[in-house]
């Protein structure tokens, strides 16, 4: 029965969409963590919900609605709260209002009770060819933008002050990154739903960071883990009457646990190598005694 299902077009669509979404989420994840934007991801996904439920009411494709909602809010976050400290409160404010709107739209939309459930917890099995094309197009654009700004984005994310001094347009990058993030989140919502977006956008990258300290390798590992979670979760869900997000989040969380276990050992090894470079042992002396020492 499982093998028969694999020949169904709707399964192909689902797997394709799941893979596309996972690649984008896996690539953008490490940046989300480095830039400390997990909450922004959550906020954007709630507004993707608002967009999608609004689209249902008006009668357009909810995938387009989700994309529109998340990009609008990404631009809003970028425009209103560029400073770190303000950002979370701005996001919290927009998120709450957006979610309220979403609830309103869903209560106006009375045809399917399952529509709300699908948006919140994910539905991949109903993806049409047109929607797969839309997802793939969005993903290609997002990946292209990320590739184009990869090096300056790494620089601006890990070291904004020096990046600015080196002429990197830090504010512009942060704006463009938010828009790309809007794309990525709206796509991930299609697979795992609004409430579980972080399981594809943050968990794989968090796991990857435990396994390597090389920036490029972390992106690769993050994509692999996101792919395994997304595609694996979809395959398992084919034979069960449980939403796909349950399996996706279980697999990615399992990867994270394994990575923590393995990673702490890798990390210990690299610390030990770095621990005792000759002549750099920190001086145990107190300030006063060293002050005389420096004056020689």
């Amino acid at each position: 029965m499982f093998l028969d299902l694999l020949h169904e077009p709707f399964v192909h669509h689902a797997l394709l969409a799941g893979a596309v979404v996972a690649v984008v989420a896996g690539v953008i994840g490490p940046f989300v963590i480095t830039r400390n934007m997990a909450f922004a991801v959550h906020g954007i996904s709630e507004l993707a919900f608002t967009g999608a439920s609004g689209a249902l009411v008006v009668g357009i494709d909810p995938v387009e609605g989700a994309l529109a909602g998340s990009i609008v809010v990404a631009v809003l976050i970028g425009a209103l709260g560029l400073r770190d400290r303000e950002r979370d409160s701005v996001i919290g404010t927009i998120l709450a209002f957006g979610l309220g709107l979403g609830v309103l739209f869903l209560s106006l939309y009375r045809r399917y009770a399952t529509a709300a459930f699908n948006l919140l917890f994910g539905t991949i099995t109903g993806v049409s060819t047109a929607q797969v094309e839309l997802l793939a197009g969005g993903a290609a654009l997002a990946l292209l933008l990320l590739a184009a700004m990869y090096r300056p984005l790494v620089f601006a994310s890990v070291d904004p002050e020096v990046a600015e001094a080196r002429g990197v347009p830090v504010r512009l990058l942060s704006m463009v990154f938010l828009v790309v993030l809007g794309f990525a989140v709206a796509e991930a919502v299609q697979v795992v739903g609004v409430l579980l977006v972080l399981t594809l956008v943050v968990t794989p990258a968090a796991a990857a960071q435990r396994l390597s300290a090389r920036p490029g390798m972390v992106v690769v590992l993050s994509v692999v883990i996101a792919l395994a979670s997304s595609v694996g979760g979809i395959l398992i869900s084919l034979t069960r009457a449980i939403p796909v997000s349950v399996f996706v989040s279980s697999i990615s969380f399992g990867c994270y646990l394994v990575a923590r276990l393995v990673g702490s050992r890798l990390r210990l090894r690299s610390t030990r190598r770095a621990a005792a470079p000759p002549g750099t042992a920190p001086s145990p002396a107190t300030g006063a005694t060293v002050a005389v020492g420096t004056s020689r």
Binding site: Y150, P152, D159, V162, A163, A165, Q209, P282, A285, V290
Partner: protein, 303 residues
């Protein structure tokens, strides 16, 4: 805020030529590494400093001192081409400052990196080479060799492959200096690079900067709260207070007379062995006038 600027340039720069340091080996191109002439900087409606005239010779070590909000960091931002003067001129190596120029290296203060940050020491240094360029970048043997050379020059080879989040403050600052040196700059701008380092590492990091200027004739502009760790290296001091300024050799500027005039109140400067102690300077670190982008802790008393 005192908008009137009164340069306390009691000592004409010309009558006090730059110390003997490295002048011999310094690149004999002539011309200062950087020059400000009658420069006025405004941030918003606030005049940070005005009429500032100072030049920095190749191989010179200029310490920039002053309370928070006096525009020390802003001065660096002007030299980096990030802030524009309201009036006056500024040149770096004879040309107006340009964002992202290789003639300028920048060393910031140490800050904690996340322990999980996926970035090794060599990656941090490498950002100084091509981190500002678009695209993903390709692996290049030549680039790798340059990074290796710099890592060795700053003595960071041993921990080049360790995650930066696990390194000590002193190790991070060595990497920062390496990062700044990759562009082979003619002038090194340092913004409190010793802050939050213990004295041992302060000594090592400042010696590393000193070595570079001696070997390559690189001029150093060194913003600091605390002159004593670098006092033996300093050729001249630029002291900024509330729009007023004074420039000259440490023994000229760090005096009771000059600082009292700058602060507009009685400030005593004492010499205790080889240290300079400033007593009675209004503790500006509590003023919170951080228009210049300063966010230092207030754990430093006088200079």
């Amino acid at each position: 805020m005192v908008p009137t600027s009164s340069p306390v340039d009691a000592h004409d720069r010309r009558s006090f030529p730059v110390g003997p340091v490295a002048a011999g080996q310094a690149s004999p191109k002539g011309g200062p590494a950087a020059e400000l002439w009658d420069a006025t900087l405004r941030l918003g409606r606030r005049e940070v400093w005005s009429g500032l005239t100072v030049d920095i010779a190749s191989g010179e070590f200029l310490a920039v001192l002053g309370p928070n909000g006096s525009g020390k960091t802003s001065l660096l931002r002007v030299l980096l081409g990030l802030n524009r003067l309201a009036s006056g001129t500024v040149t770096v190596c004879g040309r107006p400052p340009r964002r992202g120029s290789n003639t300028v290296g920048y060393v910031p203060q140490q800050r904690a990196f996340d322990r999980d940050l996926p970035l090794r020491g060599r990656d941090l240094v490498r950002l100084g080479l091509d981190g500002h360029r678009w695209g993903v970048g390709r692996p290049s043997r030549q680039a790798r060799r340059r990074v290796d050379d710099v890592l060795e020059a700053v003595g960071a080879t041993d921990y080049a492959d360790a995650p930066v989040g696990l390194l000590s403050g002193g190790e991070q600052q060595r990497l920062r200096i390496g990062q700044a040196l990759l562009g082979d700059p003619s002038i090194l701008l340092c913004d409190e690079p010793l802050l939050s380092l213990d004295l041992h590492h302060q000594h090592e990091v400042s010696n590393l900067i000193d070595a570079r200027r001696r070997e390559a004739g690189t001029a150093v502009v060194f913003v600091t709260h605390e002159i004593n760790p670098v006092l033996p290296l300093v050729d001249r001091v630029l002291y900024l207070v509330d729009g007023r300024w004074a420039v000259g050799r440490p023994e000229q500027v760090m005096t009771t007379d000059t600082l009292s005039e700058l602060y507009g109140t009685t400030v005593d400067v004492l010499r205790v062995r080889d240290r300079i102690v400033v007593v009675g300077a209004p503790d500006a670190s509590n003023e919170g006038l951080c228009g210049a982008g300063h966010h230092h802790g207030s754990d430093h008393g006088g200079c």
